[in-house]
């Protein structure tokens, strides 16, 4: 141990971090910056949740309120959720899991972090300069004819960050195609890799559409011409089509990576091979492909034809099939497993429940008649927060706890970790469950005042949000604390089978002392009923 150099001790100057080409260090750069953005976005949420305690607008004006939820959405979507698992955990794990020394294009990888930061600086400038009030969707005419805030700057920030995600996706696809170690056939890959691969496809194919769309909005505003403005010849629906053609696939960028994390955690803490490996792998691809065909479900009431609506309704329900396949497979993996309720496992179990809620309400929304009733109400907010926060943020936290020993070489306090997972789960449900009811009863989203009879639900929601806030702050402290005072982690603290556990914790700069060779499928966990003497050991997968 003593003689071995980990990637963390390989240079300690600021320069050695900012100019690093090591995928593991770039992952850490992302981790730090994303955490920062997460709390900026969270601060906006604190403010508008406070405003919503009372039915009148007493804390902020309606204009400020618009700016708060817009910046919240923009930061959380593009500066936290989309990059969270791919750029932090993916960057760290993709080469490790496939037995490679780095990603295919390390310079591009670093460049994509700089692009991300450049986009982030624009966005932070927007926050300081007074905000943007279009909502995260930049809908025209809010963003064109009636824009009175920093739309172009905010759009530029998102535009630049988009390229960062394109480059990351490109890097992952090439790496997974060309750099798997000997014996690592496609169907021996960890499911996390499959989900990264599918996510990358979406990043590469959907994000450019967002980029042109935002560029067109900028052109419209700079030249004063009518691309999307019907008053001067434009077509406002075109904006929505283009935006959702990107953004619906993008919502899958915000869940597929989380599914990958869960597929790693569940078999490890059930001590069983994952159930239906091929089905989960193919479901990821199916989601990525079908996700491109359903954008119209955001436009049921925007004036698209009824037939288009029917078609999109049907296709949207189809997307739920591969998602459900995954849920059933995870549950089947749990069945008769020897389950240990560690911190990552608690998050994973929470994910399964909350994601299912989000997915099922998605199917409700895909039903035309029901959607007409709840469109643009709190029901929508609850639907996507169940998936994006209940699902993805839980998965991110679960993954962070799962791989923290590998990333840092330290153990956190398991006891605090478990309590925190419960806090997050409770706080989350208390925040967002009432919003289903609010939406169903007809409370529209995006207003800072509301009829008095809704107050009790809003108070519950704000209370829940405070609990959730604690649940997000606490890990910040105990994880940082563990860096100095945590127990040293051994190479494989969870007895997991992935290749990343076969190297040291933290790994050396080039990941493996010698190139691994794979001889068997992933997830070869022994069930306790079978020969229990044999502890799973990732090294048995190697020669």
């Amino acid at each position: 141990m003593a003689t071995h150099q980990s990637y963390l001790s390989d240079g300690t100057t600021l320069r050695s971090w900012l100019m690093t080409l090591d995928h593991k260090r770039i992952a850490i750069l992302y981790m730090v910056s994303l955490t920062f953005f997460f709390f900026v976005g969270g601060a906006a949420a604190v403010l508008f949740r406070l405003e919503l305690i009372t039915p009148q607008g007493d804390l902020v004006s309606s204009d400020t309120y618009n700016r708060l939820f817009s910046i919240h959405g923009i930061i959380m979507v593009w500066f936290f959720l989309i990059p969270a698992v791919p750029n932090v955990l993916g960057n760290f794990l993709v080469p490790l899991m496939i037995g490679a020394r780095d990603l295919a294009f390390p310079r591009l990888n670093l460049a994509s972090w700089y692009l991300f930061m450049a986009g982030g600086l624009f966005t932070l400038y927007v926050v300081i300069a007074g905000g943007v009030d279009t909502g995260w969707t930049f809908y025209t005419p809010y963003s064109s004819t009636y824009a009175n805030s920093h739309v172009i700057l905010a759009a530029t920030g998102v535009f630049i960050t988009g390229f960062s995600s394109i480059l990351t996706g490109l890097n992952f696809i090439v790496t997974i195609h060309t750099m798997r170690c000997p014996g690592l056939k496609w169907f021996r890959l960890p499911l996390f890799i499959w989900s990264m691969y599918s996510t990358s496809l979406i990043m590469v194919l959907a994000t450019p559409i967002l980029a042109v769309t935002l560029a067109l909005v900028a052109v419209e505003r700079l030249l004063g011409v009518g691309i999307f403005d019907p008053g001067i010849g434009g077509d406002p629906l075109l904006f929505q089509h283009l935006f959702w053609f990107y953004s619906h696939p993008a919502v899958y960028i915000m869940i597929l990576p989380g599914m990958g994390v869960i597929s790693e955690i569940i078999p490890c803490f059930s001590r069983k091979p994952i159930f239906g490996y091929e089905f989960i792998a193919m479901a990821s691809l199916a989601i990525a492909i079908l996700g491109f065909l359903v954008w119209g479900h955001h436009m049921f009431v925007s004036g698209q034809s009824l037939y288009a609506g029917l078609f999109f309704s049907l296709l949207s329900m189809l997307v739920a099939v591969p998602s459900a396949v995954k849920v059933f497979n995870w549950t089947a993996t749990l069945y008769k497993g020897s389950i240990s309720l560690t911190t990552p496992m608690l998050y994973a179990l929470g994910f399964i429940g909350l994601f299912t809620m989000g997915g099922l309400t998605g199917i409700c929304l895909a039903t035309l008649a029901f959607d007409v009733h709840v469109h643009d109400t709190y029901f929508i907010i609850a639907h996507f927060h169940y998936i994006m926060v209940g699902g993805m943020v839980m998965a991110y936290l679960g993954g962070m706890h799962f791989w923290w020993p590998k990333i840092t070489g330290r153990m956190y306090s398991e006891w605090l970790g478990r309590i925190n997972a419960l806090i997050v789960f409770a706080g989350f449900n208390m925040t967002f469950f009432p919003q289903f009811i609010l939406g169903y009863l007809g409370n529209p989203r995006r207003y800072h005042t509301y009829p008095g009879e809704f107050q009790v639900f809003h108070i519950m929601s704000t209370l829940g949000a405070s609990i959730l806030g604690i649940g997000y702050l606490l890990p910040l402290f105990y994880l940082l604390w563990s860096l100095k005072y945590g127990k040293r982690a051994c190479d494989n603290p969870w007895d997991a089978t992935g290749l990343e556990w076969a190297t040291t914790s933290p790994p050396p700069a080039h990941n493996f002392r010698e190139t691994p060779v794979i001889r068997e499928p992933a997830y070869q966990y022994e069930t306790p009923h079978s020969d229990s003497k044999n502890k799973p050991n990732p090294k048995t997968r190697l020669t």
């Binding site: 080469p95 490679a100 020394r101 780095d102 990603l103 295919a104 294009f105 390390p106 394109i166 996706g169 490109l170 890097n171 696809i173 090439v174 790496t175 195609h177 060309t178 750099m179 590469v204 194919l205 959907a206 994000t207 450019p208 559409i209 980029a211 042109v212 769309t213 560029a215 067109l216 052109v219 700079l222 030249l223 004063g224 011409v225 009518g226 691309i227 001067i232 010849g233 434009g234 077509d235 075109l238 089509h241 283009l242 080039h510 190139t515």
Partner: protein
């Protein structure tokens, strides 16, 4: 360290792996580009359908002969790049250099024609925005606004294409000089293939733009 290993980057096992990674990377990048232009092509389709008369009217103001010459220039450039890969294999580095330089020159000529076209349109107040002026004719009930959309799309799409051309020209000429002064030009095989692909792609985009804007 032997010579072969020094041209392979640390993360790759051998130069073959590196080559396939570079190639795949470029193809994926081009897929991104297709989608990037794709958004604009969708916008074109929508407005062409809505304002087909205005589009026909607007295209009257472009010089078809110049567009045709430009197409020819690009196609020649592509041919030269394709040939240069061939001579590269046979180690005629000198000819590779001149092929690349000629390609870049053809590209610059292309841009000159294009900018002349822009200049002409701006002079006739056909650049969209405040200065746009469309004489409303009694005979055709066209609104100037719809013709303006044609020109918005024209400038956006050809402008974006021109931006790609500028990048392409810099890459091609940069590669040419790099190759000329490199001690070991054979290691530039990957850049040559990859930049070649990029150039062909930019060409193909123009092959679509030309009929869509000039020939309607």
């Amino acid at each position: 360290m032997n010579r072969t290993s020094s041209i392979v980057a640390m993360q790759f096992d051998d130069s073959e792996q590196q080559h396939s990674a570079a190639l795949l990377g470029m193809w994926i990048f081009l897929a991104t580009e297709v989608l990037f232009f794709g958004g604009l092509f969708v916008a074109y389709t929508v407005y062409r359908y809505e304002y087909s008369d205005a589009f026909a009217e607007g295209s009257e103001h472009l010089a078809i002969w110049s567009g045709a010459v430009m197409t020819g220039l690009l196609l020649m450039g592509s041919l030269l790049i394709a040939l240069s890969e061939n001579v590269f294999e046979r180690d005629h580095m000198h000819r590779v250099f001149w092929n690349l330089i000629s390609t870049a020159v053809l590209g610059i000529l292309f841009l000159s024609f294009e900018f002349y076209e822009y200049h002409d349109l701006i002079k006739h107040q056909l650049f969209p925005g405040a200065a746009f002026h469309w004489p409303e004719k009694q005979s055709t009930p066209l609104s100037g606004r719809s013709v303006e959309i044609y020109f918005v799309l024209f400038f956006c799409m050809t402008g974006l294409h021109a931006l790609h051309m500028i990048i392409g020209i810099s890459l091609v000429s940069g590669l040419a000089f790099y190759l000329r002064y490199s001690k070991n030009p054979r290691r530039l095989k990957n850049p040559l293939t990859v930049i070649g692909l990029y150039w062909h792609f930019v060409d193909i985009i123009w092959i679509f733009l030309f009929p869509l804007f000039y020939l309607i």
